[in-house]
C-alpha cells in the first residue's frame, strides 16, 4: 500500500516535471524563433523606407507682390523663401504662410542672378550695366521669451561695390575651396577672373590677356574685364 502511494507520488512528480520541461523547452524554442523573427522584422523596418517611391507633392500657392523674379531660393531649414526681383528688390517670405519677413531695395536692374556655392547663401547679381554685385542672405536665430525667431538679413560678403564685368552676355561664378572665380562670355570670347582667398575684400581686377595670348594660343580668351 505504502509502495503504491510512493509510486503514485513519484508518477505525479514525474508528470509535472515532464509538463514543466515540455513547456519550458517549448517556450524557449518559441522565444528563439520569435527573437529571430523580431530581428528580421527590425532590419526590414529600417530598410523599408529605401523601397518607398519618391513623390512630388501637391503644390501650395501664395500670392506675393507682382514682380518679375530673377532668382528664388530657400533657407537651409526650408523656413524662409528668398526672392530677388528684376527691379533689384530682395525679399524674404515665410514659407508657411507667404508672410513678408524683410525686404531690401538694391536699386539695380537685375538681368541675371545665381547662387555661388551649394554651401553658402551667397548670390551674384548682374545688372543691366554688366556690374556684378555679391549679396548674402543671413538667417539670424534669436530666442525671445523662449520662442525661436528667425530674422533674415541681407549683407554684402565682399564689398557693397559692384564689379564691372565689361562686355559680357552670360556669366558663371563659383566659390570652391575658398576661391571665387567669375567667368563671363560674349560670343566666342571668354573671360575668367579669379578672386582668391574668399573672405577678404575683392582685390583689384587683374587684366592678364596679353600673358595668356603669349602662352596658350588661346586667341579668344581674355581675363578680367575688357
Amino acid at each position: 500500500m505504502q509502495k503504491e502511494l510512493h509510486a503514485g507520488r513519484l508518477s505525479s512528480r514525474r508528470h509535472w516535471t515532464n509538463v514543466l520541461t515540455r513547456y519550458t523547452v517549448g517556450v524557449g524554442g518559441a522565444a528563439v524563433i520569435g527573437a529571430i523573427t523580431l530581428i528580421f522584422a527590425y532590419l526590414l523596418w529600417v530598410v523599408a523606407p529605401i523601397l518607398l517611391p519618391a513623390n512630388i507633392e501637391t503644390p501650395t500657392e501664395y500670392q506675393l507682390n507682382d514682380r518679375e523674379t530673377a532668382l528664388m531660393d530657400v533657407s537651409e531649414n526650408g523656413e524662409v523663401m528668398f526672392r530677388v526681383g528684376n527691379d533689384g528688390v530682395v525679399e524674404f517670405f515665410s514659407i508657411d504662410d507667404g508672410r513678408g519677413l524683410a525686404a531690401y531695395d538694391l536699386k539695380l536692374n537685375i538681368t541675371q542672378a545665381q547662387r555661388v556655392s551649394p554651401l553658402v547663401d551667397t548670390y551674384a547679381l548682374l545688372d543691366t550695366n554688366n556690374n556684378l554685385l555679391f549679396i548674402k542672405a543671413d538667417y539670424i536665430v534669436n530666442f525671445v521669451d523662449g520662442q525661436r525667431r528667425l530674422s533674415p538679413q541681407l549683407s554684402f560678403p565682399f564689398s557693397n561695390r559692384s564689379i564691372s564685368m565689361g562686355d559680357i552676355e552670360h556669366f558663371d561664378v563659383q566659390l570652391a575651396d575658398d576661391d571665387l572665380v567669375i567667368a563671363g562670355v560674349k560670343g566666342g570670347t571668354t573671360g575668367v577672373n579669379p578672386l582668391p582667398k574668399y573672405g577678404i575684400r575683392l582685390p583689384p581686377l587683374r587684366v592678364i590677356t596679353d600673358q595668356l595670348d603669349e602662352h596658350s594660343n588661346c586667341g579668344t580668351c581674355f581675363f578680367g574685364p575688357a
Partner: protein, 516 residues
C-alpha cells in the same frame, strides 16, 4: 585656337575647368588650372541625332552636365580624364517623352528636375538611373525654379507674383536594385563598375553603394577560410575519432576545442599585424610549406610502412605525436629553402613574379592571411562537431565491417564516413556560417578593400566588417545607414538560406545512411 560661340558658361569642378556651350550643342572644355596656360581639354558635340539641346545644367560638383533636348531625352555627360586624353561622354540617359525646357539641379545632391514644354515636372536621379516621380504643373521655361538645400522643397515664382511650393518626398533617390547589385557608370569613370565608397572628404562626392563587392568579399573570405580549415579539421576529426589512441584523444580533443575560445579580435590582431608582414616578407617560404608538408608526410609514411610490424603496432594510435616534429621540420625546411626557391622559380622576387607573369597584385593584408587566420578560428568548430559525429558511429557497424574482411581504411570510407555524413555536413555548414559572419578577423586582416577580384593575394571587404566599420559613423536614417541595415539583412538571409539548405541536406543524408 577659337572656342565655340558660347551661350552657356559653367565653371567646372574646383574652378579648374570651364565649360562653354553654343546653341547647337557644341562644347569646349578648357583647363584654367593655370591662368598662365589655358589649354583645351575637349571639343565636341553633345547632340545626338537631329535633336536640339534646349536646356543644360551642371550637376553638383560640376563633373557632369545634364542636357535636355526637344525630343524629351535627357543625357548626363561626364568628363573622363586620363593621362592620354580627355573625353566627354554620355554616361546615361532618361526619356521624359516631351521636349525639355528647363533643368533644375539639387544643390546638395546629384539629383535634378526637368520641366517639359507641357509643364510636366520630372524628378530624376542619375546614379540610380531612376525617374522618381512626375507631376503636371503650370510652370514654363521662364519660371525661376529652385530646390531647397535639403531637397525637400521646390519653389517656383510665376510672373504674376504667384509662388508655388512643391514638397519633395525624396529621401533615398540614390538607391535602386541596379545601383545596389549591378554595375553603375559613375561620373569620372571610364566604364560602369561595381564600387562601394560610401563617403568622402568632398561635399560634391557621388556615393557608391554597390553591395556586390561586399557580397563577393564575404564569399571570398569564407571560401579561402574553408579551403584551409575543412581538410585539416575533417581529417583531424576522422583521425582523432577513429584512429587515435584514447589517451591521446583525451588530450587532443579538449585542446582543440579550447582554441574556439580564442577571441577573434586577438586572432585578427595577430593576423593583420604579425602574420601578414611575415607572409609578405617570406612569400615563397610560405608557399613552399604547401609543398614541403605533404611531400614530407608522404615520404615519412612510405618509410614508416617499411618498418617492422612490431614497431608499427606498438605506436598505433600515437602517429599524431610522431608526425608533429615532422610537421615542424617541414615548416622549418620550407622557410630555410624558401629564398632558394624564390631565386629559382620566382626570379628572386616572388611578388614581382606573380604580378608580371600571372598579373596578380599583392596586398599585405590579403585572402591568404584571412584564409589561414580565419581558418584557424573555424577549425575547432568543424573539428569538434565532425569528431563527435565520427565517434558516434555505432561500434557494431565498424566491427561488422572489419569482421567481414574490410580493411580499416575501407571501413572508414564505406561505413564510418557515410554513417557520420549528416554530422560532418553539419560541421562544415556551421563552420561556413561562422566564416561568413566573422567580423573582427576580416576587419583587421583584410585591408577592407571592396574589390571584386578572386586573387588570393588581394584583400576584400565583407558585409560584417563593413557594418562594423561604417555603422558608428553613418548618419541615422540616411541612405548610407539604411543600406548598412540592408547589408545586415542580406547577411541574415544569406546565413538563413545556407543553414536551411544545410538542414534539408542533413535530413536527407540521415534518412539515407541512418539505416546502416
Amino acid at each position: 585656337m577659337s572656342t565655340v560661340t558660347a551661350e552657356h558658361v559653367f565653371l567646372g569642378p574646383r574652378n579648374q575647368w570651364i565649360y562653354l556651350l553654343d546653341g547647337e550643342g557644341n562644347i569646349d572644355v578648357l583647363s584654367i588650372k593655370s591662368l598662365q596656360r589655358v589649354t583645351r581639354l575637349y571639343q565636341g558635340s553633345l547632340v545626338s541625332g537631329d535633336a536640339n539641346i534646349t536646356a543644360v545644367a551642371p550637376l553638383l560638383g560640376r563633373y557632369s552636365l545634364v542636357t535636355g533636348d526637344d525630343r524629351g531625352r535627357i543625357v548626363q555627360w561626364s568628363a573622363l580624364i586620363n593621362a592620354d586624353e580627355t573625353r566627354f561622354v554620355a554616361i546615361r540617359s532618361f526619356d521624359v517623352e516631351r521636349p525639355v525646357v528647363q533643368l533644375v539641379t539639387e544643390p546638395r545632391r546629384k539629383g535634378f528636375l526637368s520641366l517639359a514644354d507641357n509643364g510636366e515636372l520630372s524628378l530624376l536621379y542619375p546614379t540610380s538611373g531612376r525617374l522618381l516621380d512626375q507631376r503636371m504643373s503650370d510652370l514654363t521655361a521662364t519660371t525661376p525654379i529652385a530646390v531647397a538645400p535639403r531637397s525637400n522643397l521646390l519653389i517656383a515664382a510665376k510672373s504674376d507674383g504667384r509662388v508655388m511650393t512643391y514638397g519633395l518626398d525624396n529621401q533615398h533617390p540614390e538607391i535602386s536594385w541596379g545601383a545596389l547589385w549591378t554595375k553603375v557608370w559613375y561620373e569620372g569613370y571610364d566604364e560602369p563598375i561595381y564600387s562601394w565608397q560610401s563617403s568622402s572628404a568632398d561635399n560634391d562626392f557621388e556615393p557608391k553603394f554597390s553591395l556586390a563587392p561586399l557580397a563577393f568579399g564575404t564569399i571570398k573570405a569564407a571560401f579561402y577560410a574553408l579551403l584551409f580549415a575543412v581538410p585539416i579539421a575533417l581529417m583531424g576529426a576522422v583521425y582523432t575519432a577513429y584512429f587515435m589512441a584514447p589517451a591521446m584523444r583525451a588530450l587532443v580533443k579538449p585542446g582543440i576545442e579550447i582554441m574556439a575560445a580564442l577571441p577573434t579580435v586577438i586572432l585578427g590582431f595577430l593576423g593583420g599585424l604579425w602574420l601578414a608582414p611575415i607572409i609578405e616578407a617570406n612569400l615563397s617560404s610560405v608557399l613552399s610549406v604547401f609543398v614541403f608538408l605533404p611531400v614530407g608526410l608522404f615520404l615519412f609514411a612510405l618509410a614508416w610502412s617499411a618498418l617492422p610490424d612490431k614497431w608499427i603496432n606498438a605506436t598505433s594510435g600515437w602517429y599524431g605525436l610522431i608526425v608533429t616534429p615532422l610537421i615542424l621540420l617541414s615548416v622549418y625546411l620550407a622557410f630555410l629553402y624558401g629564398p632558394f626557391f624564390e631565386t629559382v622559380f620566382f626570379d628572386g622576387d616572388s611578388r614581382a613574379w606573380f604580378l608580371e607573369v600571372l598579373g596578380l597584385n599583392y596586398d599585405q593584408r590579403n585572402a591568404l592571411v584571412v584564409g589561414i587566420v580565419m581558418g584557424l578560428a573555424v577549425i575547432p568548430t568543424i573539428f569538434s562537431i565532425a569528431e563527435d559525429a565520427v565517434y558516434a558511429v555505432p561500434d557494431h557497424l565498424v566491427r561488422g565491417s572489419l569482421a567481414l574482411g574490410a580493411t580499416p581504411w575501407q571501413t572508414l570510407v564505406k561505413v564510418v564516413l557515410l554513417t557520420a555524413s549528416p554530422g560532418i555536413f553539419s560541421a562544415v555548414m556551421i563552420g561556413m556560417g561562422r566564416a561568413v559572419g566573422e567580423t573582427m578577423i576580416v576587419l583587421m586582416a583584410t585591408g577592407n578593400t571592396p574589390l571584386m577580384d578572386f586573387n588570393i593575394f588581394e584583400g576584400m571587404r565583407t558585409f560584417a566588417a563593413n557594418i562594423a566599420v561604417e555603422l558608428p559613423e553613418s548618419e541615422v536614417d540616411s541612405s548610407h545607414y539604411r543600406i548598412l541595415f540592408l547589408a545586415a539583412l542580406v547577411l541574415f538571409l544569406f546565413t538563413f538560406v545556407i543553414n536551411t539548405v544545410a538542414e534539408v541536406v542533413r535530413q536527407r543524408l540521415r534518412q539515407r545512411y541512418g539505416s546502416l
